[in-house]
């Protein structure tokens, strides 16, 4: 029993440590002062309003949204076939292929951004947006593969064989039989990838430029210049945004079993 108490206490401590900061940021975002003081002497929503109205943040938000959605969709288009092949018809050299496809998870993301900048964007003078998009897609694809693969290996193969004997082609079998049964995994992959892209910093660091900036990068830039509570307000908004996203999907689909 004593041991149980100690563990419990540690759990609460850890919780406090992990989640306490969110409360702090939350409170700081509502402070009324010009500079960041904690605890705030008075509260107001002025910073929240200011942040919502800021043009730069709005533009950055839009960019993050566009990149996020585009990159996620393309990552799924690239990744779902891979997951399917891996689980049903592994091509020769599958081991090596798996290594290559999961390498984005191991390679420090900042290097990718730098590499893409120097050897692709500058070389072929590609638009920055494209470089950013490409970087994000590469990062998200392994997530798509992993989540969908976990679902596919639990789906029995014999229903596909049954469809084939009934006259369906491979493509028909995939769209009519496989896809409907991995739907929740695909959706979970979508949310996971989108959130990862939205919060992404290292890849985007080098791949942003005049006019093109993702929200996190914009926030960082702002923090270098001013020490006002606007970032706290923005962080709070972001946290609420993410929380709503994640809780909704966890409720509907139970993401945690795919992690």
């Amino acid at each position: 029993m004593k041991e149980g108490l100690f563990s419990r206490a540690m759990l609460w401590l850890v919780f406090l440590f992990l989640l306490g900061p969110f409360v702090i940021v939350f409170l700081a975002g509502f402070s009324a002062g010009e500079t960041l003081v904690f605890p705030p002497s008075s509260y107001s929503v002025r910073w929240i309003i200011e942040v919502l109205g800021s043009e730069e943040f709005q533009r950055a938000f839009r960019t993050s949204l566009e990149i996020g959605l585009l990159a996620t969709v393309i990552a799924l288009l690239l990744g779902v076939p891979v997951a399917y092949a891996m689980s049903r018809m592994p091509p020769p050299g599958m081991g090596a292929i798996k290594q290559i496809l999961t390498s984005p998870l191991i390679i420090p993301a900042m290097l990718v951004g730098l590499g893409l900048l120097r050897h692709v964007v500058l070389l072929v003078d590609a638009p920055v947006f494209l470089g950013l998009l490409v970087g994000h897609i590469g990062l998200l694809t392994p997530y798509a593969v992993r989540v969908v693969y976990a679902s596919l290996i639990n789906l029995r193969v014999d229903i596909e064989e049954a469809a084939i004997t009934l006259g369906a082609s491979r493509a028909q079998t995939f769209f009519l039989i496989v896809l409907p049964n991995i739907r929740s995994a695909v959706i979970a992959a979508f949310f996971l990838a989108f959130v990862t892209s939205f919060n992404q910093v290292p890849v985007s660091l080098f791949l942003t430029g005049p006019g093109i900036s993702t929200l996190p990068i914009e926030m960082l830039g702002h923090m270098e210049n001013s020490f006002d509570p606007s970032i706290a307000a923005l962080s709070t908004l972001l946290v609420l945004f993410t929380m709503a996203f994640v809780l909704a999907t966890e409720k509907l689909l139970g993401i945690s079993k795919y992690m």
Partner: protein, 286 residues
């Protein structure tokens, strides 16, 4: 016919992702890494012909600042990994004992921080450690200090920030490893006379080794490759490898050194990952 078709289809399905990853991911990074080994050439100081060598690396480590940054990165990473393990073990045990009804909620709360932007998560420490932040307010209020202490932009701040950022990874890893550890085993050990500490060291620890190793790898790698947290909490005074890299590129335009740092980063992450594979495969064959 069927088997042949299947193989061909399999190849077809993985090709787009494969090409994309190789062309847009691996090749650019590879180009960076290769560049670090190129020495000399027309713009070099001593006018030597272009050749392969590790001269740049020697030059990099020759500078005391760089050595300091390198060692600091290793030091902080090791410390964060150790402390996260120490904190996570008891917490994970408590989680595993939670009734199934609340388990999902508790796990969700553990995962939630991971989904939030690292900027938001790090920001709280700025709020706490800043000159006008909470801790200083308390210190001044209680009369423990005469003026606001400099807490930000220190190794301790980076340490705390990274710990908070990466703890969930270790925690999740240990929880999943402990879930497979039946309660009966630890009970059996105590009926055989072991006290709590002995049960932990002789039973729990060895059996959850896998989770510890996986979690440790994730945390260590996360520390080495972290940018946001060291940037915000360490600033230009307390540099880690990635913030040093950024500085070299955007402030000094010193791509040569940047490439060297890139190689070091890649080698470190590969080494940790390879080490993990070696340990876990030797354990499974044991």
């Amino acid at each position: 016919m069927v088997a042949h078709d299947k193989k061909r289809l399999g190849i077809l399905l993985v090709t787009p992702a494969l090409i994309f990853t190789v062309v847009c991911f691996l090749l650019p990074v590879l180009a960076l890494l290769v560049d670090a080994f190129r020495v000399g050439g027309p713009d070099s100081v001593d006018g030597a012909a272009l050749h392969w060598g590790v001269d740049r690396f020697i030059a990099f480590f020759a500078e005391p600042l760089h050595r300091q940054v390198f060692l600091r990165t290793l030091r902080i990473a090791a410390l964060v990994t150790l402390v996260s393990a120490l904190l996570s073990y008891p917490a994970a045990q408590a989680i595993v004992r939670v009734s199934p009804r609340y388990r999902g909620m508790v796990l969700g709360m553990m995962i939630l921080p991971l989904m939030v932007s690292p900027i938001a998560r790090t920001y709280a420490w700025i709020v706490l450690f800043g000159r006008n932040g909470a801790i200083n307010s308390v210190l001044l209020h209680l009369g423990l200090a005469d003026e606001p202490q400099r807490l930000l932009f220190s190794e301790m701040a980076v340490f705390v920030g990274l710990l908070q950022l990466l703890l969930p990874l270790m925690l999740m890893s240990l929880v999943s490893s402990m879930e497979n550890l039946s309660r009966d085993i630890t009970l059996a050990a105590s009926t055989l006379g072991a006290n709590a500490w002995q049960v932990f060291t002789r039973v729990t620890l060895p059996l959850t080794q896998e989770g510890l190793i996986v979690g440790g790898t994730l945390v260590f790698t996360g520390c080495v490759t972290a940018y946001v947290t060291p940037a915000l909490l360490g600033g230009p005074k307390v540099l880690m490898l990635e913030t040093l890299l950024y500085q070299k590129v955007s402030v000094e335009s010193d791509f040569g050194t940047a490439n060297v740092i890139a190689v070091i980063l890649v080698l470190m992450t590969l080494a940790v990952n390879a080490g993990l594979k070696r340990i876990s495969s030797s354990r499974s064959s044991a």
